[in-house]
């Protein structure tokens, strides 16, 4: 262990008044200690700002909710006599990757919850177990080929095993263009519940 009197070449040979020397040096030592501590803490705090922002970026980045897809001019659906099957392409961005999926929907007449001026857009996904439900033009009903659920033209439940009607999707019109936002709902429930 070095002794304090080795302080470089200043005061090379003055062993007198050792106690005072120590006090002076200790004062200087603790001054340096504070300097180092405060300096390091400031430096560390400054450097941690970009690190924290970087790490938290995806936590606070605004989530891109599924965008609205166009279904064409709303007037073309004004006088439809049966549900019209349409496919929409949905682009989902997940961090640095993007995926596109094609989803079928039905534009139909009805006044269930989620309708707009007598028009509904239904998800083609069967609320029972998720099959793609086709429209049966002869029976004038939606008939799921998987387990036999039947739905009225407006999507309401006619016959199980499904426990609820076909799910309506959020819609809006923008300058007469009908827009839909595709969503997924939990299967097997009697009421519609959005899948996170």
């Amino acid at each position: 262990m070095t002794t304090v009197s080795n302080q470089q070449n200043e005061e090379p040979s003055r062993p007198s008044e050792p106690i005072q020397d120590i006090r002076v040096l200790e004062g200087r030592r603790s001054f340096f200690l504070w300097l180092v501590a405060i300096g390091s803490a400031t430096m560390g705090a400054l450097l941690s700002i970009p690190l924290i922002r970087y790490a938290l970026y995806p936590v606070f980045a605004k989530t891109t909710s599924a965008p609205w897809s166009k279904l064409g001019n709303k007037n073309q659906y004004a006088s439809i006599s049966a549900p019209v099957r349409k496919t929409i392409d949905i682009e989902q961005v997940n961090g640095w990757m993007k995926s596109v999926s094609r989803k079928p929907v039905y534009v139909t007449k009805g006044n269930r919850k989620g309708s707009l001026e007598g028009t509904e857009v239904l998800s083609a996904v069967c609320p029972h177990l998720g099959c793609d439900v086709p429209w049966n033009a002869d029976a004038k009903k939606f008939m799921c080929p998987c387990h036999g659920s039947v739905f009225a033209p407006d999507g309401s439940l006619v016959q199980g095993p499904a426990q609820r009607g076909m799910d309506t999707l959020p819609i809006k019109t923008e300058e007469d263009v009908l827009m839909v936002r595709y969503e997924y709902f939990q299967a097997l429930l009697s009421n519609k519940k959005l899948v996170g």
Partner: protein, 495 residues
């Protein structure tokens, strides 16, 4: 709490004075304070000097590289199909991503510069003398590891620049006599520079080499403390006689001052001129001129410069001599003389090598600037890089193409096929077999099923489904032979 701590107590020193309470309890169990004092009281013969700041400067830069590197790993994916897009995401999208990546990129250059300064200071001060052979050897290992970090890290962004520079770099390995071909394949994970190479370089860069650096850094520091600081050139390397000053406070403040300066300089550079990322590597680009980063330029030039006769001198004899002199230095130069002007041979060789390296590097840049074709191509490459930096981030499209996208758009050829499509859609076949019959999780792809079954077989299948079909939930359909014909035509038309 009345027990004495194992700490040495000297009444004159308040730092060592009897501590009390929680601090005392903690100290008794960890001895951290004692360790701290041992660290800070390292005696430096001849006192603190600015010449001694490089070692701890390296430690700080390394720490900065570790921290920024760990954070880069939050987003980076080491595979050929994702590496570039993730680095682009870090650079163009993530908050402070460009800044942190730039700190890491410039930190690598700073590390190489300071390692050279540290090495030069140790050499010129003769600080490797006096039972410090292992200390020097561990230093040469660390030097190699730092260069290895620079080499492996360069490939990771997988842009044009890094791809082609690494292609050349790994080719260099194949010039080594006898084991060259093996070394190259070992580095690349095969003959090609591809995704296996990237995985290898990533593992080297974040696991193997850092672990070795930690290990050898510990050895290096331990051996340094064991041998003691060598002090100034006027000091005897074996029996230090000059007055010592403890590391704390003056040397520590100098070291920390230097570290702060480095970090501020790096931060400034990262802020003013963020590190660029070029376009995605295109191995088919035959025009691209590979250029390594500045620290490998002398080696790059050395391998280019002298072809033809006496090749063995260039690739074997001279490099071997230099490496041997570098590694074996403390064994070869055993006199206790430390003053550079009294060591003409050692300092002479050092100067020649150093000047040769600088000249080779400078000549490489000079050539690039003065050959019109090369200069034009390099300018083109720089421009492509700037262009790429300006374009906004494009997320990478992943996953299979749209289910049935191609098929759905293709209009059925014959009227029979059109009728078949009607049947397919009205009976809800797509519910299980998917749009365009491409298949789903619950039912197989049935495009072109006519190649597999005859009309009779198909009719039979509809009436007498197999056990597998029934179990899968295939409904019972009453199709006429004409319906089956139409369905076959439609499914065949999708091929």
């Amino acid at each position: 709490m009345s027990k004495q701590t194992p700490t040495e107590h000297t009444p004159q020193n308040p730092h060592h004075a009897q501590p009390s309470g929680l601090f005392h309890w903690f100290e008794q169990r960890t001895g951290l304070n004692r360790l701290l004092h041992h660290t800070l009281d390292e005696p430096i013969p001849g006192g603190a000097r600015f010449a001694f700041i490089f070692g701890s400067g390296l430690l700080f830069i390394f720490l900065s590289q570790v921290i920024t590197g760990i954070f880069l790993a939050l987003y980076y994916v080491p595979s050929v199909d994702h590496a570039h897009v993730t680095v682009a995401y870090i650079t163009k999208v993530v908050a402070a991503g460009s800044f942190l990546r730039s700190l890491h990129v410039y930190g690598a250059s700073a590390m190489v510069i300071i390692v050279l300064l540290h090495l030069s200071q140790t050499f010129l001060y003769g600080s490797y003398k006096g039972k410090r052979e292992l200390l020097w050897l561990s230093g040469t290992v660390l030097f190699t590891l730092v260069m290895g970090m620079a080499f492996t890290g360069y490939l990771l962004p997988w842009d044009q620049k890094s791809y082609f520079a690494t292609a050349v770099g790994t080719n260099v390995a194949s010039e080594v006599p006898l084991i060259g071909g093996f070394a190259k394949r070992m580095l690349r994970g095969g003959n090609q520079l591809g995704t296996l190479t990237l995985s290898r370089f990533y593992a080297m860069h974040v696991l193997y080499i850092p672990l070795l650096i930690f290990l050898f850094m510990a050895i290096h520091i331990y051996l340094f403390r064991k041998a003691g600081a060598a002090g100034p050139i006027s000091e005897s390397p074996i029996h230090p006689a000059q007055k010592t000053e403890s590391f704390y406070p003056r040397q520590l403040v100098m070291d920390l001052g230097f570290a702060s300066l480095l970090i501020v300089a790096l931060g400034f550079a990262a802020f003013i001129a963020p590190a660029a990322l070029g376009p995605l590597a295109n191995p088919a680009d035959t025009h691209y001129l590979p250029r390594p980063d500045w620290y490998f330029r002398p080696l790059f030039e050395w391998l280019k410069i002298w072809h033809g006769q006496a090749e063995f001198l260039r690739i074997l004899v001279i490099p071997t001599i230099i490496v041997f002199l570098f590694v074996a230095l403390p064994f070869l130069d055993r006199s206790p003389e430390r003053r550079p002007w009294r060591r003409p041979l050692a300092v002479g060789i050092y100067s020649v090598v150093f000047i040769a390296l600088i000249s080779l590097g400078a000549y490489s840049y000079y050539q690039d600037a003065h050959d019109k074709d090369i200069a034009a191509q390099l300018a083109l490459q720089r421009k492509a890089q700037q262009q790429y930096m300006k374009t906004p981030f494009q997320p990478q499209l992943v996953g299979a193409p749209l289910p049935g996208a191609a098929q759905a758009k293709k209009a059925p050829a014959s009227p029979l096929a059109i009728a078949g499509r009607k049947i397919f859609e009205s009976h809800g076949c797509f519910a299980c077999h998917g749009e365009g019959a491409v298949g789903t999780a619950i039912a197989p792809r049935i495009i072109g099923i006519g190649n597999k079954f005859s009309e009779e077989q198909m009719e039979n299948l509809f009436q007498h489904p197999t056990a597998k079909m029934s179990a899968g939930g295939m409904p019972h359909f009453q199709f006429t032979p004409n319906d089956v014909k139409a369905l076959r035509a439609y499914l065949d038309s999708l091929q």
